[in-house]
C-alpha cells in the first residue's frame, strides 16, 4: 500500500464521524432559528388574527347597514362630487301624470 491509499480510510472516517454530524447539526440549528416562534410572537399573532376577524365582522355589519340605507352607496362614495341621491323620480312619477315632472338639477 502506498501513500494515497492509506489516506482514503482516514478521509472516509473523518467524513463519517466529523463531517456528517457537522452537516446535520448545522442544518438543525439553522432550521430551529428559522422556524421557532416564541410564545410572545404566538400571542401577538393570535391577538392580531382575532382582532382582524372581529373588525372584519364589524365592517360587514356596517356595510350591510349602509347598503340597506342606499343600495348604490359605493358609486357615491367613490365620486363625492356627484350629487346623486338615489334616483326615485322614475318610480314616484311613473303612476302619476308626467306633465308636472320637475326638471332635475344637473
Amino acid at each position: 500500500m502506498d501513500g494515497p491509499q492509506i489516506l482514503i480510510p482516514i478521509l472516509v472516517v473523518g467524513m463519517l464521524f466529523i463531517g456528517l454530524p457537522w452537516l446535520v447539526f448545522h442544518y438543525i440549528t439553522k432550521w430551529k432559528t428559522a422556524k421557532t416562534l416564541t410564545s410572545e410572537d404566538e400571542n401577538l399573532l393570535d391577538e392580531l388574527h382575532e382582532l382582524a376577524r372581529r373588525l372584519d365582522d364589524r365592517m360587514g355589519t356596517i356595510e350591510r347597514i349602509v347598503q340597506a340605507d342606499n343600495p348604490n352607496w359605493r358609486a357615491l362614495g367613490a365620486d363625492p362630487v356627484e350629487t346623486a341621491l338615489e334616483d326615485r323620480s322614475e318610480r314616484l312619477y311613473e303612476t302619476s301624470e308626467r306633465t308636472n315632472r320637475p326638471s332635475r338639477r344637473t
Binding site: 416562534l37 404566538e42 399573532l45 382582524a52 372584519d56 365592517m59 356596517i62 342606499n70 363625492p80 338639477r105
Partner: protein, 126 residues
C-alpha cells in the same frame, strides 16, 4: 403561561394507538387516514424502521394540553398555516387589515359625502 400552539403534540383525543398519526395530522393539516396509510405502507416497505420511529415519537413528544382541544376549526387551520409558514401567515393578516382599512375608507367617503349632499339639499329647500 399558555401552551405553545406551534409545537408538535400527541393528539390523544383522535388516537388509535398513541396519537402520533393524529398528532401529525393535526400539526400539518393532512388527513389522518392518509397519514396512517403512509405509516402502514412505510412500515411494510421500510421493514419496521418507521414503526421504531413511531414508538420513539410516542415516547418523546408531549401530549396535547387540554385547552388546545377546544380550538375552533378556523383557529386550527390558522395555526396549521402558521406552523407551515409563519411569515406568509403574518403577511396574510396584514393583508386582511389592509382590506378592512380600504372598506372603512369607502364607508367613510360615502358618509362624509352624504353629509355634504344633505346640506346641499337643505340649502336648496330654502
Amino acid at each position: 403561561m399558555s401552551a405553545l400552539k406551534t409545537k408538535f403534540y400527541l393528539d390523544k383525543e383522535h388516537k388509535k394507538w398513541a396519537g402520533v398519526c393524529a398528532g401529525i395530522a393535526d400539526y400539518t393539516g393532512i388527513d389522518v387516514t392518509v397519514v396512517r396509510l403512509g405509516f402502514v405502507l412505510g412500515t411494510i416497505l421500510g421493514s419496521g424502521t418507521l414503526l421504531l420511529a413511531y414508538f420513539i415519537i410516542a415516547w418523546m413528544a408531549p401530549t396535547k394540553p387540554r385547552e388546545l382541544y377546544s380550538q375552533s376549526a378556523g383557529d386550527r387551520k390558522f395555526w396549521q398555516e402558521v406552523r407551515a409558514n409563519p411569515r406568509r401567515t403574518a403577511r396574510d393578516v396584514r393583508l386582511r387589515f389592509r382590506d378592512i382599512d380600504r372598506r372603512l375608507a369607502d364607508v367613510e367617503a360615502y358618509v362624509t359625502s352624504s353629509n355634504n349632499r344633505l346640506a346641499r339639499e337643505i340649502e336648496q329647500l330654502r
